[in-house]
């Protein structure tokens, strides 16, 4: 049935056109109500809309890739702060060798359909020995042009104790504290059979621009080298200038402060009185809406395509510890706050192993009140390959109980174990890295997963509580997550006064 507000709106519109109709309100109400009620349910399919959008944007990108690659750079707002160097390279490249990044411009646009490869094409998904937090796992993550802001694998909860609190832990008092989760949500289903795992397709180098040898300045003969251009950096020579780093082979770019061009008065401090005047306070951090607006404005101004990303969110974990601190004046307030735009693939947002959104990060300098960085801007061309899905909800819940893939399956003797609760999961993607089958390099994968929100947990200031636990649905990943991770111990610390 239509609402009274809907009826009133239609009737008011009619009476505005023909006031005489008001005399027949009873009949008109019946008629309009019937018309509104009869409107068919169109059963709009979001998946259809997503797939159509991918196809359309791919076609648009193919069309745009025929334009010179530096066309975006020639928009006035971007050209003004960019140094002469890039313009020289661009002109030289386009004249002598054609567009610098034809196929990579397509890749860098961040969209495209994911062609299907043979099942298991990405090799084994098994976790490395020691789990995700191990050295061997960390070595899989590429050092791209972007620094990234992925969360570190959390250690036992007590290790996150009171960031910024000046009181340190004396030796002998520390014992590991763990969270054990119980599931309190509704029954959920698992996908049957196989699931599609996505792999990000990296970029490729570009032909060396002709005329590059003119830039050597007599240091070394650039012209003696053949090969491809891979990484380069552009530094803006102006106040609050940026440093743009590009890794063509990786298919990534990042923006950071061009450090010497940003003021850092606090670095000249030598005593507490000086540091105090530059100490940031929580009220210095803008509201989330303002942070998001600033991030969106920056992305728009610099031509960064957002179509592959979902709704942004401010990462405010620092605020949890700030609110729990005994002395707020001494509590940690970050220099920069991150706004994350989660990557969305096949309609699902992606999360990292820490349960945090994974995607594009924009950092906002609280001190200088402007955007000071963009991280993890990567090409998002994907391939897909099917893998066996876990079939048993009990397996999922067992791993969720211990806090995810990296949670311990045994607790150290004497450890404190606290209870927390998980709510009904949603379907998402889990970002992970695996070694390539040929042993050369690694691949960035997105695996269908379940995200369990943490709905209740201890509020002790020394206990870190994640917002959610993310469990991938690939059977091989889960079966390799059995081994507990080594439990780190803190170095002995002296109490400060």
């Amino acid at each position: 049935m239509p609402t009274e507000a809907q009826l009133k709106e239609v009737l008011a519109d009619l009476y505005a056109i023909d006031p005489g109709l008001a005399a027949h309100e009873t009949d008109l109400r019946a008629l309009v109500s019937e018309l509104l009620d009869a409107r068919p349910d169109t059963r709009f399919d979001e998946r259809f809309a997503r797939e159509l959008k991918e196809k359309l944007l791919l076609r648009l990108a193919e069309h745009e890739s025929r334009r010179p690659w530096f066309a975006a750079l020639l928009r006035p707002r971007i050209l003004a702060p960019v140094g002469a160097l890039v313009l020289l390279v661009a002109v030289a490249a386009s004249i002598q060798t054609g567009p610098l990044m034809t196929s990579d411009r397509l890749a860098m646009n961040g969209f495209g359909m994911a062609p299907s490869l043979a099942p298991g094409a990405f090799g084994s998904l098994a976790l490395p020995a020691g789990g995700l937090g191990s050295e061997s796992a960390r070595s899989f993550r590429p050092q791209s042009g972007g620094g990234g802001a992925a969360a570190a694998v959390p250690a036992p909860a007590a290790m996150e104790a009171a960031a910024g609190d000046a009181k340190m832990i004396a030796p002998g008092e520390w014992r590991p504290t763990y969270l054990k989760y119980s599931y309190q949500g509704e029954a959920f289903e698992l996908p049957q059979g196989a699931i599609d795992v996505f792999r990000r397709v990296r970029g490729a180098g570009a032909p060396l621009p002709a005329g590059l040898e003119r830039l050597s300045g007599g240091l070394i003969d650039f012209g003696r080298f053949s090969g491809q251009l891979d990484t380069f950096t552009i530094n803006e020579d102006r106040a609050f200038g940026y440093s743009l780093s590009v890794a063509l082979g990786e298919g990534s770019a990042s923006v950071a402060q061009n450090w010497p061009k940003w003021p850092h008065p606090e670095l000249s401090c030598r005593d507490e009185a000086c540091w105090s005047q530059y100490r940031l306070r929580a009220e210095d951090v803008p509201a989330d809406a303002d942070l998001i607006a600033a991030a969106e404005r920056f992305l728009s101004d610099y031509g960064i395509d957002r179509s592959a990303y979902g709704d942004p969110a401010v990462q405010d974990e620092w605020r949890v510890q700030y609110l729990r601190a005994e002395d707020a004046s001494q509590a940690y307030v970050p220099e920069s706050v991150s706004i994350v735009f989660p990557v969305v693939i096949d309609g699902r947002p992606a999360y990292d192993e820490g349960g945090n959104p994974a995607g594009l990060y924009v950092t906002y300098s609280v001190r200088h009140r402007r955007v000071d960085g963009v991280w993890n801007l990567t090409s998002l061309r994907m391939e897909r390959s099917s893998y066996e899905a876990v079939a048993d909800t009990g397996t999922i819940l067992k791993i969720a109980e211990r806090g995810g893939l990296y949670g311990p399956s045994v607790y150290e003797q004497g450890a404190e174990v606290l209870g927390a609760a998980l709510g009904t999961p949603e379907r998402v993607l889990f970002r992970t890295y695996v070694q390539n089958p040929d042993g050369l390099g690694s691949s960035e994968l997105y695996v269908p997963a379940l995200r369990f929100p943490v709905v209740s947990a201890p509020t002790r200031p020394d206990v870190y509580v994640p917002k959610a636990i993310v469990i991938p649905l690939a059977a091989e990943l889960l079966s390799s997550a059995g081994a507990p991770i080594g439990i780190p111990r803190p170095m002995p610390l002296m109490e400060t006064k």
């Binding site: 049935m1 239609v10 519109d13 009619l14 056109i17 023909d18 109709l21 027949h24 009873t26 009949d27 008109l28 109400r29 019946a30 008629l31 309009v32 109500s33 019937e34 018309l35 509104l36 009620d37 009869a38 409107r39 068919p40 349910d41 169109t42 059963r43 709009f44 399919d45 259809f48 809309a49 159509l52 959008k53 196809k55 359309l56 944007l57 076609r59 648009l60 990108a61 745009e64 646009n109 969209f111 728009s300 031509g303 395509d305 957002r306 179509s307």
Partner: protein
């Protein structure tokens, strides 16, 4: 037009265009096929779109033309512009069962309206477009659209006051 702008316009209008096409075909697969066609055509003709003007009337006009082409292809000998014309012409039309059931009570009423009038009424009541937008889509003046709309509603009221009022009271 930059890619991200087209992406945003797509997100803002795909649901409306799909609904518009569904209301006039009553068949999900057909509506989806036509929606794909509409946005593909929009992409091909982006060069002719004046970015100073509103996107909605432009994309709706493309949708309207696609709809007319669809029905004329389906029934080349009959002058059809939407599913209502097709129903009036008789014969077997693929329609979703849900749509048929939901429209059972008012179908006869809607079919009494001429095509052009029906289009204006449904654009206003079902698609929720403003008179100005409707005028741009159908190629008439805004005052002509308003007059057509109010007269159509008045006519419907006269044609079926009792039956509709009873249904309203029962529900």
């Amino acid at each position: 037009m930059p890619t991200e702008d087209f992406g945003r316009l797509y997100e803002a209008h795909v649901r409306h265009i799909y609904d518009y096409l569904y209301y006039r075909t009553h068949h999900r697969e057909t509506a989806e096929d036509l929606t794909s066609l509409v946005f593909t055509k929009a992409l091909e003709h982006l060069g002719s779109f004046d970015e100073e003007k509103a996107f909605a009337p432009w994309i709706y006009r493309i949708a309207r033309n696609a709809l007319i082409d669809h029905w004329r292809t389906a029934r080349p000998t009959a002058n059809l512009e939407d599913v209502w014309d097709a129903l009036r012409a008789g014969g077997d039309i693929a329609r979703d069962v849900d749509a048929k059931t939901r429209l059972a009570d008012v179908e006869a009423l809607i079919m009494t309206l001429p095509s052009a009038t029906r289009e204006i009424v449904l654009l206003r009541v079902w698609d929720g477009l403003s008179h100005a937008e409707i005028a741009e889509i159908v190629g008439k003046s805004e005052s002509a659209v308003k007059m057509t709309y109010s007269r159509a509603i008045a006519g419907l009221r006269r044609r079926a006051p009792l039956a509709v009022a009873l249904l309203f009271l029962i529900k």
